[in-house]
């Protein structure tokens, strides 16, 4: 499998505080890779930096063979990297279908087929096509956020805490969709506090603590690891 994303010694700071302190990892084409870790470990900062929302103070981000370190967010999207942001961030004043269309903002071809595909994944969205995004429930908004990102036909889909604040049954559904999206050929980089769900779906996983990667392995290996079980599965498996 060829390498799609490579992160080398990435460092990110906010106002002098180092959130990410030299992280290196990679995502190969066709994989689901997850970064797990506690709140404030630096997972979200890593994703936001890869997607161009934050500028790193050090390190290198290579996507599909190109150096995208510190590039403009729009240029990164144009290369086929889309992110589902933490907290869903649906545009509340845009209708459901507009939220989908805006995910394909840089595309100039017809969107009808892609919209139909998103509606197949999430029939609930079709029923609410003309409703304002802000009127949807949390779970529906997460579906919309995922659908919106798919509209950009990403090579790599990054998701920041898709399970956050959702009922367990809804989380199950979202992870089922992540699996389907992956099976349909999209590479996924997933950041989660819900380590149990994330490790079950992931091919490979990295554990982040205090801005550094402390462990890595296949999803199965980490699920069986004593330290991971104690730190991340004991307290959060009930999420």
């Amino acid at each position: 499998m060829s390498e799609l994303l490579r992160i080398e010694d990435l460092k990110v700071s906010y106002g002098g505080i180092e959130a990410v302190r030299g992280i290196s990892f990679d995502v190969k084409e066709g994989e689901i890779v997850t970064l797990i870790g506690a709140n404030g470990a630096g997972k979200s900062s890593t994703l936001r930096t890869i997607s161009g929302l934050e500028k790193p103070v050090g390190g290198k981000v290579t996507f599909n063979g190109e150096d995208i370190t510190g590039a403009n967010a729009a240029d990164i999207v144009a290369k086929g990297l889309m992110m589902v942001p933490e907290g869903r961030r649906i545009f509340p004043n845009l209708s459901v279908i507009e939220n989908l269309r805006i995910g394909a903002y840089l595309r100039k071809d017809s969107l009808d087929e892609d919209i139909e595909k998103v509606y197949e994944y999430f029939p609930r969205l079709k029923e609410r096509s003309w409703q304002a995004g802000g009127t949807l429930s949390g779970g529906e908004q997460q579906m919309l956020a995922v659908g919106r990102a798919l509209m950009g036909r990403p090579k790599l889909l990054m998701m920041d805490e898709p399970s956050l604040g959702l009922a367990p049954i809804v989380v199950q559904g979202i992870f089922e969709i992540i699996r389907q999206i992956h099976d349909a050929g999209t590479t996924v980089l997933l950041v989660e506090q819900n380590a149990n769900m994330a490790l079950h779906v992931a091919d490979r996983a990295y554990v982040i603590e205090n801005g550094k990667i402390t462990m890595e392995g296949t999803g199965k290996e980490l699920l069986e690891d004593e330290k991971v079980r104690a730190a991340y599965l004991g307290s959060t498996s009930g999420n």
Binding site: G52, L53, A73, P85, I102, R148
Partner: protein
């Protein structure tokens, strides 16, 4: 009766001219949460350009040129004075806007020598017409229709085009808009371009009615248009338009009251008193968002 009609006509007309300026305030506020204090002065500069251009060029060239130059001015102001402060506190951007406002006024004083300049007669717009027994300029009749047509086009743009969708998205969430591939700075520029173009149209209409232009000639109409935008609920386009028509009509009615009452000199004070009363009962304005949760 004829007197009442003529007062109403000129109220609607001046209201329409305020509306064209007010849209510029409300659009920029909607996206940047910035009161663009320089907007009234951009309107004044458009007026001065109208004088200088028509002095040397035919009307068919000079009016489009005023439009283009005003748009460039608005674009350059945003890029030079506001964009570098994108991540600064909102108060800093506001102070930058006040700075630009004075820069434009002082430059106008330098160029004109501070003397009031007279806006040229625009053929057709300046000629008189009889309506319901009163004589008025064509500009008074045309303004409300032109304003409504432009507002209709603007609404189409915002609700049914890709760039309009991007404007609505950016007005809610910069970061997520960028994650969609939207170039936020370009969308902001588009906003300033639209606002400046409408102010340029407004300047042609307004100064045909009130032809004396001094370097501070943009201040009062600018302030009234800003008030109209707040009155209608800042950020809302229909709000700004309705607010502007209401303020224009109220102001002309007060000015038109019998001279023995001696109140016309207070017309601006009455306008602002009206605003205060409305805002006491409806703090977010007629069509404003209940809470502005800028994220």
């Amino acid at each position: 009766m004829e007197y009442v009609i003529s007062v109403l006509l000129s109220g609607i007309s001046v209201g329409g001219q305020y509306a064209l300026i007010a849209i510029g305030y409300t659009l920029v506020y909607g996206i940047l949460r910035l009161i663009n204090f320089a907007h009234g002065d951009v309107f004044m500069v458009a007026g001065l350009m109208g004088i200088y251009f028509t002095a040397t060029m035919p009307i068919t060239v000079s009016i489009p040129l005023v439009l283009i130059m005003t748009v460039i001015l608005g674009f350059v102001i945003e890029r030079a004075a506001y964009k570098p402060l994108r991540s600064a506190p909102r108060m800093s951007v506001m102070i930058s806007a006040i700075g630009v406002s004075y820069l434009l006024q002082n430059t106008a004083t330098y160029v004109t020598g501070g003397q009031p300049m007279t806006y040229p007669e625009i053929p057709f717009l300046s000629s008189t017409v009889g309506v319901a027994g009163t004589q008025t300029k064509w500009v008074v009749i045309i303004t409300p229709f032109l304003v409504l047509a432009l507002v209709y086009l603007l609404t189409l743009l915002i609700n049914h085009t890709k760039v309009g969708m991007a404007m609505r998205a950016v007005s809610k969430d910069f970061a997520t808009s960028r994650l969609m591939g939207i170039r936020v700075n370009s969308v902001i520029s588009v906003t300033f371009i639209i606002g400046s173009a409408l102010a340029a149209v407004g300047s042609v209409l307004y100064f045909t009615n009130y032809p004396a232009i001094t370097p501070t000639a943009g201040a009062m109409p600018g302030l009234k248009a800003f008030v109209a935008a707040v009155f209608g609920g800042i950020g809302s386009i229909p709000g700004a338009v309705i607010g502007a028509f209401l303020i224009g009509i109220c102001e002309t009615i007060i000015k038109g009251l019998p001279s023995s009452w001696d109140v016309s000199v207070f017309s601006d004070a009455f306008t602002f008193a009206l605003l205060i009363i409305i805002l006491i009962f409806k703090p977010q304005g007629l069509f404003g968002e209940a809470a502005t949760d800028k994220v």
